[in-house]
Symmetry: C2
Subunit: 379 residues, 2 copies
């Protein structure tokens, strides 16, 4: 598995005309080597060249590497031989001309260190390295999604007058633990006017009657993440609040339909032009077009559209490629895992967001989180 991923990286290196790559991000080090035991970010780096793969780190990690990733070659740093000097040694030994680095992750101080060693570098985007998930990765994501649905089922009976956002959030964390998983990022639990703040920080606000209750949370299971939002109503919603909810629901449905019908059109097109090889690259569904479909449903109903992207890829990180937004030129292709999460946020009425996770698999859009999307009214 790691060998295949390393070869994928090497193909990117070849394409980008670099003959080595200094991987610094924790998620890519884990993806390419299986090692995820650094106590502090940037306590180690993965150096991948045409012929070798090294983990450059302090001797303090040697035992952990030997235990958890015994096949991984280690280059130990010391106070007299910093990581950049170790990189330089390999650059000289393997006669590398230029090495790639992750500009969104590498710190400027590290960049200066490499320059000081006179190592030629090139910023190379690894945005697409993990974008098409392997079957094992999809299984892990599915597990996280299943537990997310279970957590939502678990929490609903606790939605009662006087409970606080933080109490619900903590109960969700405890439940996730009891299921052998953990909460993947700080849960958003937002009551009433708080639900109209897309990035609300869960607080000690108490639940009062006639409020939306917005949950946005995810779990981490076997290292992979889920992300789901549901909005329920506590009390009796006004007609306008019901319309608001139904509009968001329709917005998500139309986005899903757009993807599914595009896939269908594309697959029938393929059948008729049978002489072409069936590659997933032929599916031309652009993130920005899906966002546009969802956004228009909301705007046409007379509401302001969501001030965020419609969706994002997810896997080892909560936000990764692809992006489904106004500005995203990215295409949706086979084995991508992403969210679709339209919302409407009105300070006077409250906010609604509905978010599910999906995978594009076997030329179909499959929904991975499956909690009910009917407006749940609790009393």
């Amino acid at each position: 598995m790691f060998q295949q991923r390393i070869e994928h990286l090497r193909s990117i290196c070849k394409e980008q005309q670099v003959d080595g790559f200094l991987i610094s991000s924790a998620s890519n080090i884990f993806y390419l080597s299986g090692f995820n035991r650094f106590l502090v970010d940037h306590d180690g780096y993965l150096l991948v060249t045409k012929s070798s793969v090294f983990l450059i780190t302090s001797p303090l990690y040697t035992e952990a590497v030997r235990k958890f990733t015994p096949d991984l070659a280690i280059l130990e740093t010391s106070p007299d031989a910093w990581y950049s000097q170790m990189v330089k040694q390999i650059v000289d030994k393997e006669k590398l001309t230029v090495i790639g680095f992750e500009e969104k992750d590498l710190r400027v101080a590290e960049y200066f260190d490499l320059q000081e060693e006179k190592i030629a570098t090139k910023s190379v985007s690894l945005r697409n390295l993990r974008v098409q998930k392997e079957q094992e990765e999809i299984k892990a994501v599915e597990k996280a999604c299943l537990l997310t649905d279970k957590t939502f089922d678990y929490i609903l009976p606790f939605v009662k007058e006087g409970v606080t956002e933080l109490e619900l959030s903590e109960k969700m964390s405890a439940f996730a633990k009891s299921q052998g998983a953990e909460i993947g990022f700080p849960s958003i639990v937002a009551f009433g006017r708080h639900s109209a703040v897309p990035h609300h920080m869960t607080s000690d606000e108490k639940l009062t009657k006639n409020s939306f209750v917005l949950f946005d949370f995810g779990l981490r299971a076997d290292n992979y993440l889920s992300d789901m939002s549901r909005t329920v109503f506590f009390g009796t919603p006004s007609e306008h609040q019901v319309t608001l909810y139904e509009t968001v629901k329709k917005s998500q449905e139309e986005a899903m339909k757009y993807i599914s019908s595009s896939l269908l059109a594309l697959s029938s097109e393929k059948e008729t032009t049978n002489d072409e090889p069936q590659t997933t690259n032929q599916i031309d569904i652009f993130g920005k077009d899906v966002d546009d479909v969802a956004r228009k449903v909301i705007e046409n109903a007379g509401f302001p559209a969501y001030p965020h992207a419609l969706g994002h890829g997810i896997g080892l990180e909560v936000h990764e490629a692809p992006t489904l937004s106004k500005y995203s030129p990215e295409k949706l292709i086979e084995n991508m895992v992403f969210t679709i999460e339209p919302g409407i946020y009105l300070p006077e009425l409250g906010g609604v967001r509905i978010e599910d996770m999906f995978v594009l698999q076997d030329n179909q859009l499959k929904q991975l989180t499956n909690s009910s999307k009917q407006l749940i009214i609790l009393n």
Copy 2:
């Protein structure tokens, strides 16, 4: 409080000949503005100039800023005006010539963004910005330390045959929560041979008789951190294991004595030369000298000295200035908060580390964690 800290930053700017500073690290943004509500690192930046302070961030955070730090001026980014373009606007408006940045935190991509806007930049270390703690900060640290002692008292009765490292670690987390705090970083709980791995990752290892049990953990209370290590013995220690423990204990004691007696010598020196103003800068206790004292106790007893620093500053981050290590030229001065944590790690016998937190206050070394350091033997 923030005004005073901003003025401190401005004095650093003046000294370093920059007329603005782009603060990117979460801890310094919080320290200088009180805002710590970013869901994702680098979702915003603080721009400090001679005459103004701005938080540059997405409109998604506007509500949170208004709620939690209402006095803080916001510059909202948009898809058409990135943070680097907002910085450029201020640079032009205030006619700034060169702005400082945190090279250990800023990502290379961000550095390139600034270059693209033709903003002149200079790397300026803020290592000493937070190094001398204010009285309110010391109070928060003291609270975290007190709860750390309570957590240690709480966990000892659970040290029993068959318990796992993770079970103890989780009980500690739950207890911290019950006290209105939280665990500050992943706790190390290490049984037997695991205790000889300084960076051991707490595992599902079960406790068996005649093992060292090493705890290294800290709490976060009111945003400030604590960090303490204790090693107890489960079963009956061999004579050699007792010697090992006592050597570490003595190593820490000698380091403490070295600091205290230096302070005493310095203060009496001050009394005799009464004409000089009493500034804390006159205390010349170097981190490397303290490390040397502690290290020698261990080496003189015939053991290998710890493969890490003797200690580190702590506050908003687990590791911050000052460093007490072989390589550290830093002086210990008034109102610094730091750890002293010698250790011996022997695969065959196990490992021992004793770590406490201290503050240098009123010309005295005050210990902030106060759990017993007698060898605790449990059965």
